[in-house]
Symmetry: C2
Subunit: 198 residues, 2 copies
């Protein structure tokens, strides 16, 4: 396989990038100064080398704990539970939330073999059970069926600890993906969160 | 800038990839085994290191001359002139053309500052002027206004050398981009090429 074919094949592995787009990107890169390609390759290698999951919240970060967990100005009484680290970036962009996060690493999906053991639930319970600090948990799983089921399951796990449990408001388009919602919608949904009761 | 932000910024430089898509690709890569990212980065670096323009035809290649120019079974009496190396890949995929190529490196576009000096025209004239070998030149520039103007200009340069000059048939959608046409359309357009006369 030639270097061009190899680049096309590797780029075509990325989600949403077919062979034609991969070829277009490859020919685009060939026309760029060598430094541009090297900078892109280096940035990708840095991802693999420097970025790890934060041992506290599960967010992707090049520090451990991540900058959010380490930030003493954040409100430690609030914990926002999300499916993926990408959701944190989307919520942070709104600038409306000052608490901490917890990444589950997905949602419950028995058909895909994702049960409670596959999610970061033990560490969530430990953070909440740890008494005095956390006073409210906002369940910001995706506004999809699986996200709702997961939120309900997490509420069941946490209700014994006497914390306030709320669900991000479904101002988000139902069936959608939190990560792709716009900042205004996310901010509104955070503000209109409702208490979650049995 | 964190490693994540850097990866997003570098990916967002690629054509057709905005910040949201770049973020989605970055989070996708973070979930992959490290080897996947390394393979992608290596493939990109190989592009920069190994791929050069063929000194004969201008095609991108990791050999010089490129595999097409070096292939003794190809018909050396035919020369297909294209705007970009990506067009060669599209024509080769049809399997209908057995001659050689010449890459101009773009089309005439005075408003963008692209005049005859910016295109690989001297080497084209030299190949054609070199007597006995080339008998037909197929002008396969894009079926756009600039492509037509460029074809007409090239015909003017070559007509004194007594070679047959043809233009790829406009079975291609007018205003389109050769690189993205499907193989059947390209093959049909090659077969229906018409002689180009003053």
């Amino acid at each position: 396989m030639s270097a061009i074919e190899e680049a096309v094949a590797e780029l075509a592995r990325l989600p949403g990038i077919g062979r034609k787009t991969a070829a277009r990107l490859t020919y685009f890169l060939l026309k760029q100064p060598r430094a541009v390609i090297e900078r892109l390759a280096k940035a990708l290698l840095n991802l693999a080398e420097q970025v790890k999951a934060c041992s506290v919240c599960g967010n992707w970060s090049d520090t451990d704990p991540c900058l959010i967990c380490a930030d003493t100005r954040r409100d430690r009484s609030m914990l926002c539970v999300v499916e993926d680290a990408a959701d944190i970036a989307a919520i942070e962009k709104t600038g409306e939330y000052r608490g901490l996060y917890h990444v589950l690493g997905g949602h419950l999906s028995p058909l895909d073999g994702v049960g409670p053991e596959q999610l970061r639930l033990d560490s969530l319970v430990a953070r909440v059970a740890n008494g005095s600090v956390v006073r409210e948990v906002i369940l910001a799983t995706d506004p999809s069926m699986e996200g709702e089921v997961t939120a309900t399951y997490v509420r069941g796990l946490l209700e014994r600890y006497g914390v306030r449990i709320s669900r991000i408001a479904l101002g988000l388009p139902v069936g959608g993906d939190l990560e792709y919602a716009d900042s205004v919608t996310i901010a509104r949904a955070l503000a209109a969160r409702r208490e979650m009761t049995g």
